[in-house]
């Protein structure tokens, strides 16, 4: 059929109908109503409904207009039934020439007749129903019966039980007849038109469904009546019609139009019947719709759901007892599966039945069904974690039967994590889940792992038992066994530095995965630091399996150990034996990291990692000093030096590292007091490293900074308690002298001065001179007797000369000159409070 022609036909028909309605209304609304003429006009416009040229949608447009028109006729009849005897009229229209107009008129009059008191309602209903069988063309028949249903809906008698029965019978019969017409349409016309037929049938479906709506609107029907008398009949028709479109649609309608309680009570019947449906029926759509509806119910009315469910379980119990008494007689009936009142179990058992009974079911459908069952369990039984494991056990069995399109399982994999995220549930997932996950493509596993981890991080979920830590990392297993990383590990171990193919350049995804993994270490927590440590050891046992990618996670792990020692130090509960363990763990881990550097796996990235290793070592040394374990502390300093010597090759990094070393040593207190010899070894070495740096400027600065290691004075705030007797008072400032070695300080300064002087560029030398002057002033103020006025004056003179030589206007010395001016300004200020400064000549 041509669409343009189609709508032309419609336009013509609509016009005729409009005209005739107007004429009919004129007849009805005039002072002397011309009823017979009105009927004629009605008959004329009704004849338009005889067309077979319209698609269902267009036919419906015509129908709507006709329906509106007939409403005027009904209204007129209602008001004038005294004068127009309805029974006679009902008979009269039977003689109208054509069947379609005749039946529409009959239903119009019949329905008004039904609304009159004392009318033989049931007879009229029956008669109209029977007469409707006269139209056997599917489209016209469906609309006619739809009209019957629309016109009678508010008039169906339901007062007595027998009336209710008749009404239900009437509606169900109409439903069955409509369904037959609807299914028959499939076989009409040429086979080349099948596509179009299907489309038409889909459009018409609503007409068939409306009968079920009608039944659902009968308030007299309770859930038991529904279970006993309604659902079986409807399901029977649905199963028998053997048409998958009808089956899918009608089951969907049942789910939608009847209340949730009804479904809960009749779940077994409903599910059973679906096992007998035709091939091609989309099982997952129906089940997912049903489950979603039940989930919404739980969300909307949780309290009500509770009541209904418990009511249901008492019903089941009673039924079980009842059945037990009859086991002997009804042996054949017991083949039905045992039903429990547990919703999850019902669906779960059903999913097994499905697989057994419906071999044609595909995996995609099954995965969707299992996903829905998971969600159902998570909303109805959020605490029953075992349910979820069961589902994945089943999924695992299924996935082993296939290797294709594995990606269809991804949504199921994510469901326990994304649906109402509950960390307890996730941590209760057992081997079923893990094995299921590992059967999927690596990319999916990896994405899921990141998804899990991000959820945990987002909600800051604490991991405080061995089980929890293990389970979480087992769920992330894909990151600890991935081919490439373990490969690169063995490769680099076996073949040393030849690692041209082990590019450390990672994709951004991998980096973000392992960064998240590093953050996961912060989730580990136990109030007992020793227990906490054990958990870290477990974490490491997982991380260690990620090859060179341990570089993302180990530093965080080491930092966590340092934090533990600090904590224990503060509460003074650090046990020496345990501390040894901590240290061993720390060193071993650190060494593993350094291996990556030394075997060249990381190429240029190695230097930065070595720096990190060294800094971690220094932090460890410092915390050990603070906790008075000075021998251990010394060891870690020595280790740091080894790293410095062996693994830091880049001169810029060397300088940075040296600054870290100086800074850390300067913070040490106990090692200085407890074993000054050791301390001296460390600081002498440090100064030596400084003098060996590549660049003169670095050398000079490192050496003058190192001078501070021989002059450690702690300035105290008023509130600080002074424990040490060495506390002296100078002016009103309190200070504790840790170490002062006038001579060594001077040596350092002299040395740095020589280095500065040996610089080739005079402006660089100048800059360094000024810096050394600042340092010297510091020592002067703090009472180093070897830094004398004379010394300072000498320095100032040196600087002034050097400025003169370069020439004051030379812009290359702007910065040092300014710095120098500020220093002199400072000296002038100091002179006002400290008379010693007056002797410094500032010009």
């Amino acid at each position: 059929m041509n669409q343009a022609l189609d709508s032309k036909t419609l336009e013509d028909s609509l016009l005729i109908v409009k005209q005739q309605i107007t004429l009919m209304r004129k007849c009805l609304e005039s002072k002397n109503p011309q009823f017979m003429d009105a009927l004629k006009h009605a008959s004329t416009f009704l004849s338009e409904l005889r067309t077979n040229k319209l698609s269902p949608k267009l036919y419906y447009e015509l129908y709507v207009l006709v329906f509106d028109g007939l409403a005027y006729l009904s209204d007129f009849l209602k008001e004038s039934h005294q004068t127009n005897h309805l029974a006679d009229l009902y008979e009269l229209v039977q003689y109208a020439g054509n069947i379609v107009p005749r039946l529409y008129l009959m239903i119009t009059i019949g329905s008004v007749y039904m609304s009159i008191e004392n009318a033989p309602k049931l007879e009229i209903m029956k008669d109209m129903l029977e007469m409707s069988a006269g139209v056997q063309d599917p489209i016209r028949g469906l609309f006619l019966r739809y009209y019957l249903s629309q016109k009678t809906k508010e008039l169906l008698p339901t007062e007595t039980e027998s009336e209710l029965k008749e009404t239900i019978q009437f509606t169900i019969t109409n439903f069955i007849e409509m369904n037959k017409l609807w299914v028959r349409l499939k076989h009409q016309g040429h086979s080349s038109e099948r596509e179009r037929r299907l489309k038409e049938r889909k459009e018409l479906q609503i007409l068939v469904g409306s009968n079920l709506v009608r039944i659902s609107q009968l308030d007299q029907i309770d859930k038991f009546y529904y279970k006993e008398s309604i659902l079986p009949k409807v399901l029977e028709q649905i199963v028998q019609c053997k048409d998958s479109l009808a089956q899918e649609y009608l089951l969907d309608v049942i789910i939608q139009v009847f209340p949730d309680e009804f479904h809960l009570l009749t779940l077994d019947d409903f599910l059973q019947s679906t096992l007998h449906l035709s091939e091609g029926f989309s099982m997952n759509k129906i089940l997912v719709t049903l489950i979603n509806r039940l989930i919404d119910f739980q969300k909307r009315e949780p309290a009500n759901v509770k009541v209904i469910i418990s009511e249901l379980s008492t019903l089941t119990l009673q039924k079980d007892e009842h059945e037990e008494n009859h086991t002997e007689e009804s042996d054949s009936e017991t083949t039905k599966p045992q039903t429990s009142s547990n919703l999850f179990e019902k669906f779960y058992d059903y999913s097994h039945l499905l697989v057994e009974n419906k071999p044609e079911l595909n995996f995609k459908d099954l995965s969707l069904i299992l996903e829905a069952i998971c969600k159902l369990s998570l909303s109805y039984y959020p605490q029953d974690y075992e349910n979820i494991n069961k589902v994945f056990g089943f999924a695992l069995a299924l996935i082993h039967q296939t290797t294709q399109h594995l990606e269809i399982w991804e949504p199921l994999l994510k469901t326990p994590i994304c649906y109402n995220f509950d960390p307890k549930l996730v941590l209760s997932l057992d081997d079923n889940y893990k094995q299921f996950a590992s059967a999927l493509p690596t990319a999916i596993q990896s994405a899921n792992a990141l998804y899990i981890l991000e959820k945990f991080l987002e909600q800051d979920v604490r991991l405080s038992t061995v089980e929890e830590v293990k389970t979480l990392y087992e769920l992330l297993a894909v990151w600890f066994t991935s081919e490439d990383s373990s490969d690169s590990n063995t490769n680099s171990l076996l073949f040393g530095t030849d690692s041209s193919k082990n590019e450390p350049d990672e994709s951004p995804e991998v980096v973000s995965q392992y960064e998240a993994l590093a953050k996961s270490i912060h989730l580990i927590h136990h109030t007992n630091p020793y227990k906490h440590f054990e958990l870290l050891e477990i974490a490491k046992s997982f991380m260690s399996k990620s090859g060179s990618r341990v570089r993302y996670t180990y530093p965080t792990l080491l930092f966590a150990v340092i934090k533990l020692i600090r904590k224990l130090t503060i509460v003074q509960k650090l046990n020496a034996l345990k501390l040894k363990q901590f240290c061993q763990f720390f060193s071993a881990t650190n060494t593993e990291l350094l291996t990556l550097v030394s075997n060249g796996t990381l190429q240029s990235e190695g230097g930065v990692l070595a720096q990190t290793c060294m800094n971690l070592n220094l932090s460890m040394a410092l915390i050990l000093d603070q906790s008075s374990h000075i021998d251990l502390s010394y060891e870690f300093f020595i280790n740091s030096f080894v790293i410095y010597e062996e693994s830091i090759v880049d001169s810029r990094l060397q300088f940075q590292c040296l600054l870290s070393i100086i800074g850390t040593l300067h913070k040490c207190r106990n090692i200085v007091n407890g074993n000054e010899d050791n301390f001296d070894v460390l600081i002498s070495k440090t100064a030596l490293y400084g003098s060996k740096l590549l660049k003169k400027t670095d050398q000079c600065r490192a050496v003058y900074l190192a001078s501070h290691l021989w002059w450690i004075i702690e300035e105290l705030d008023e509130e600080d308690e002074i424990e040490s007797e060495t506390a002296k008072t100078s002016e009103d400032e309190l200070q504790v002298v840790i170490k002062t070695d006038n001579k060594k300080v001077l040596e350092c300064l002299q040395k740095s001065l020589r280095i500065a002087d040996s610089c080739l560029e005079t402006n660089v030398s100048l800059e360094l001179f000024v810096e050394i002057l600042s340092r010297s002033l510091y020592f002067f103020i703090h009472g180093n007797e070897l830094i004398t006025i004379k010394y300072l004056n000498g320095l100032i003179e040196l600087i002034q000369n050097s400025i003169l030589t370069i020439g004051e206007e030379n812009t290359s010395i702007d910065t040092p000159t300014k710095h120098f001016q500020r220093t002199l300004e400072y000296i002038r200020q100091q002179a006002q409070i400290d008379s010693r400064f007056e002797e410094i000549k500032d010009r």
Partner: protein, 205 residues
């Protein structure tokens, strides 16, 4: 005998699934409310006789499915509507957001001649729920009304029968006004002209 022109007012009720369209109608027509949710599929109507300013009218309320997959035959029944009621659920942001698209959809499908003057009514339903579940306050609702062209707005509860009659009274009055304004439109005159043509042929039978 006097000329009695019968007035049938056609009203369409639109809004997302679950906002309470069916419940509002049930409360207005049958004074009933049920907590049970029975989704509407397709379209369904209820009628009620009303007297407005001494005039008898039949109001035909068309309930529609919020789930669009259930409108397989299209929405031809929008045609000839005299008023459109837009409903949202005050506990559901999304239903509020969708009101505008329901209105636009209606205007397109119903083939309304003068969209500016066509009567719409906005209803925010379920005001009986606890305050903390409410997502749309009165101020936001007023904003929407303004956006829709200052249409009348009612906050109702189908459950506790709050404001139902008031809302439907305005619906009926506006529908009646609309119906009367159209009565002398082209449809009528067209038909009379053609009636003259057709008379000869119909006379014979």
């Amino acid at each position: 005998m006097s000329s009695k022109k019968k007035t049938i007012l056609k009203v369409i009720i639109l809004g997302d699934s679950g906002v309470g369209k069916t419940s509002l109608m049930q409360q207005f027509v049958n004074r009933k409310f049920s907590q049970q949710y029975k989704a509407t599929i397709g379209a369904d109507f209820l009628t009620k006789e009303l007297v407005i300013d001494n005039k008898n009218v039949t109001i035909q309320l068309w309930d529609t499915a919020g789930q669009e997959r259930f409108q397989s035959l299209g929405v031809a029944f929008y045609r000839g509507a005299d008023c459109c009621v837009l409903v949202y659920d005050v506990t559901n942001n999304k239903s509020y957001d969708n009101v505008v698209s329901w209105k636009d959809e209606f205007l397109v499908q119903a083939n309304i001649k003068n969209p500016e003057t066509f009567p719409f009514i906005l209803i925010g339903n379920k005001i009986d729920v606890e305050e903390n579940k409410r997502q749309i306050n009165n101020k936001k609702a007023q904003q929407l009304c303004a956006q829709l062209g200052n249409i009348p707005y009612f906050e109702t509860s189908a459950k506790e029968a709050v404001n139902i009659d008031q809302a439907f009274d305005v619906v009926a009055r506006n529908a009646l006004q609309q119906e009367e304004s159209l009565d002398f439109g082209d449809d009528y005159t067209d038909a009379i002209n053609i009636h003259l043509d057709g008379e000869s042929s119909t006379c014979g039978c």
